[in-house]
Symmetry: C2
Subunit: 586 residues, 2 copies
């Protein structure tokens, strides 16, 4: 090795040893005949000392020629430091350098390579290899490696086998848009990149593999947002001869194990909530349960505390629903107006907000006092179990839409009240998702999870009836309001799978063409099976306490799907196009 | 769980326990009122017992309705077996079944699901999920999982970080043909799938990651052979601040560790051979050193024991070279003729074979006795250190071509003499590969390893001189004559990298367009670095003792790049093509 030690390991016990360190120049101070140089590598920082009179003059001269980010090798003796630095692991020692070699010079980097940098997003993406030198960015990828290691250790221990499934597969019509790959050897034909290894993992169950997992790249050609990448990584899992309960227990175990190993946090048992309750109480299938503020319905399926008093907005509404913000009765009119503007923004699109102040002195003041008497409104206050000092915020309209809007308001209030503590982790299972959802635009039913998800046995009769009411044996794991994983018990009988494709609008021929291999496989002894997949990038970002998955991907793409560092995608040669039997059509 | 135990774990200590097993019907014997059923899962086989008079009649009836590969669940009591079966782990017990459920019926499989099957390659590829049920095929994938586990454990222990590099990258002109992916968001532009993460792992070194690895899918759009797949897996590694020696030691350690853990074999230190010696002594850069039979040159650079005696074939030859096959002097004329025909086949293309029989009685008989005296030929025998009873086989012609042909003959003789024991493992480092090789057809120089490989420092001066003589700091690992991995010390200075591209025929502009991101990165403080990549599929096939990597890939493609199971590649819709701004051009 070119070094005897790394920049992160020397301490007082190494004093008087001769060492060779290699690394990058982090900073240099040159003062009163002394030069202190912080040398950096992946493992830490070590201070190098050069001193006029003691250090060979040629070494001093070389040291004075160095700039930030030069790559050097330094030989010297470990000595005790007079002014110790408690903040770094090697802060008790420094190296009195006797030999110094410049391994490679460096131009001045386009931004500061420090925890706090002056580089904007664009320049840091372009010079990603420099951004990756910053501690916090590198630590994100080290964390990612740890999460992968602990995941594999946990699953290996439980007899799961990691099996690699193919990347060059077949384009199928369901799901998101596929990336495709023209085949040179089969002109006019294309492979597709997998959106997930779903059918392959099911075939592995048919093959008797019993317990499968894979940490695997998947691909979706969707329009990108901050938290989406065209290529992303899944922890993909499947088990045979299990019930939903077994899958929930196994993977709750995984997540608790990861929290324990990676964060040192012992999570309690993960609570469960049905999709129906999640929508009713939080207006979301991924509620953030770090704080309560559950919805209460003043007008809905079970009661009507608002109609017939002359307030047309509520009279015409399918649903009147609200949240109770603790201690917010002190909000000024201006604050409430500002909240009202916030929910009226196009991203949320609410029509308005009704408020009820339940003042600390027990008095009540609402924005609809001219329609409702104090006893009327006292009933609302009771419905919310509000306490003096609370502020009730009400929204109304079409049920689904209103719930979604109120969900946004609830999250915003949670943030404003400091109830969404980034250091607190609340994990939740959401169960019993609907099997199907209706696409108004396409005028047909879609699988909410995917076409391989099994209806709950007690709802199978509804396959010939009210499709919207069928619940699936499907489940999502939600952490702090973010969906980190989801899965389902699968269909494993050919007839039921055929019926499912029929409901989704496939002709028998189309179903056979696209998924015949799977349905045929079901005829040769398919075991009952179920599985789950976690978004690995997302999971890492949660463990790392960051909002964007980009920070946990070594070389991410921007919102146009470009890698600006390597400048990809790019044009290819006419010769390549010809060999692949394709042309561009611009 | 639907079961209490697997089919591989019950023994005498479980006798009298009530258990539930799930699995596939392997076989049924129904004789004299007794039914024995072998139930199979991934973990093993367990015998189920049904007995007239003792088993409920409905259970008996169900048992009699079962066929091969039905998926069942059986509840019963573990009892001691009268006729024990030592061949299986559960052979001491059986299950007296009280309840039996058919979880899924099965059609008769198209081939026998046994270790010895009656299914041909094509049908087993089409029904790969059934082929994967066979013990030997499943065990190959279990072995693969173990090799991956031990690889990660070894590298993690040495502070390597696994980092995922992107799959959607940029097409570059060097190397094999790229698979490309049209970009919908960037019409007319394409991503490429990586042939290896080479430039990314080098950028990770520039980023200071110090020690990187990844078990990663790579892609090459090449014409396929039995041991090639369009997508394959690499163990990809890179280290900073190291010499070639450090890389060799680190990865020799990996391979020795894998042999120890996976095969229980403690390998000796791995010997090393230069490329020049390998070519001279074996005619191959991947010699099988399980057996000697090294080449000896009768006419070559150092001596000429053949010219001027009137044998034109040798007189005109650049090289006369041969091997000495121990104990083969007894070969009949017919056997030698057959060998001669074998090397004349078009795959090898040799012109002929000269033999010298050094008989057990000390007499000598050759096929060129009319040109050479016995003393002449005795000199040849001495050159080979031949012993009485040996057979010398000589070939001649243009040096490189003749060595390659003789390599084939050497391997064939090794096989015929039983010297290539599949249970013996001989690992070898081949070092000092040429940096460049001349492409006669293209009339230019090509990088033998890749354009990022560093010349040996002492040969750098030759970059302006005899390019063919430059040796690279490049190394291959060879096991039993198969190249399993290779790597090099990398160029890390911009100027040298530019020079390299210039030699390869890139204009400065082309070099900047294609690899500017890497050369720019070298200007910001690139450390000395080196790396290696192992062919993971190949490595697994060696541990598994099989010739074809296909057996170690869950869902391989055939020689036309097709997945015949899912019928891919396939046509895609006009709508998809339009969205991607491409057309097929057939």
């Amino acid at each position: 090795m070119l070094r005897t030690n790394t920049c992160g390991e020397l301490s007082l016990e190494h004093v008087n040893q001769e060492v060779v360190l290699c690394g990058w120049v982090q900073r240099i101070r040159d003062k009163g005949g002394m030069i202190w140089l912080d040398l950096r590598d992946r493992y830490g920082l070590t201070q190098l000392l050069f001193e006029e009179g003691k250090t060979p003059s040629q070494v001093l001269e070389t040291a004075r020629s160095l700039g930030r980010e030069f790559v050097i090798s330094a030989k010297g003796i470990v000595i005790e430091r007079i002014a110790k630095n408690d903040k770094i692991a090697t802060g008790a020692i420094e190296i009195r350098v006797s030999e110094l070699t410049v391994l490679n010079a460096a131009k001045l980097p386009p931004f500061l390579i420090e925890d706090e940098t002056d580089g904007g997003d664009d320049i840091r993406m372009k010079y990603r290899y420099l951004d990756l030198r910053r501690n916090n960015v590198r630590k994100n990828l080290q964390l990612r490696h740890q999460v992968a290691r602990y995941t594999r250790a946990y699953l290996d221990e439980l007899d799961f086998i990691e099996v690699e499934t193919p990347v060059l597969i077949k384009s199928t019509p369901e799901g998101a848009r596929d990336f495709v790959v023209p085949s040179r050897m089969n002109p006019g034909e294309f492979y597709a990149l997998p959106q997930s290894p779903q059918t392959f993992k099911q075939l592995l169950m048919v093959a008797g593999f019993d317990r499968y997992y894979q940490i695997v790249k998947c691909f979706r050609d969707e329009d990108l947002r901050a938290d989406r990448q065209p290529e992303f990584t899944q922890i993909d899992c499947e088990m045979s001869f299990v019930t939903q309960e077994d899958v929930l227990n196994t993977f709750e175990g995984l997540i608790r194990n990861l929290f324990s190993k990676v964060k040192g946090i012992e999570l309690p048992e993960v609570p469960r909530m049905t999709y129906a309750d999640a929508m009713r109480l939080y207006g979301s299938d991924k509620p953030d349960i770090r704080f309560d503020m559950q919805f209460a319905e003043l007008k809905g399926e079970n009661q009507d505390l608002t109609s017939g008093k002359g307030f047309g907005v509520f009279d015409d509404a399918e649903l009147v629903v609200g949240i109770c913000a603790p201690g917010c009765a002190v909000y000024t009119r201006k604050q409430i107006d500002e909240l009202t503007d916030w929910i009226k923004r196009p991203q949320i699109g609410a029509k308005g907000l009704v408020y009820v102040r339940y003042n600390a002195d027990g008095s009540i003041k609402s924005s609809v006092d001219k329609f409702y008497s104090e006893p009327d409104i006292k009933k609302w206050v009771d419905a919310f179990n509000a306490k003096p000092g609370d502020l009730i915020l009400l929204m109304s309209g079409q049920a689904d839409k209103t719930r979604k809007q109120l969900n946004e308001l609830r999250l915003e209030m949670g943030s404003r009240l400091g109830l969404r503590n980034p250091d607190e982790y609340r994990v939740l299972w959401v169960l019993d998702f609907p099997l199907l959802e209706y696409g108004e635009a396409e005028n047909r039913w879609f699988a909410m999870h995917h076409p391989f998800t099994s209806p709950k046995p007690e709802d199978i009769a509804l396959l010939d009836g009210n499709l919207g009411q069928i619940r699936a044996n499907a489940y999502d794991m939600v952490i702090n309001g973010v969906e980190v994983g989801g899965g389902s018990v699968r269909i494993f009988e050919k007839e039921l799978q055929q019926k499912m494709f029929e409901i989704l609008g496939f002709s028998p021929q189309e179903a056979q063409e696209q998924f015949g291999f799977l349905m045929n496989a079901f005829e040769f002894g398919a075991p009952p099976h179920a599985g789950i997949a976690f978004g690995f990038d997302r999971l890492c970002s949660i463990f790392g306490g960051a909002d964007s998955i980009r920070d946990f991907i070594a070389f991410p793409k921007n919102n146009s799907g470009r890698d600006v560092m390597i400048d990809s995608p790019s044009t290819i040669s006419e010769g390549q196009l010809k060999e692949l039997s394709i042309q561009t059509a611009l």
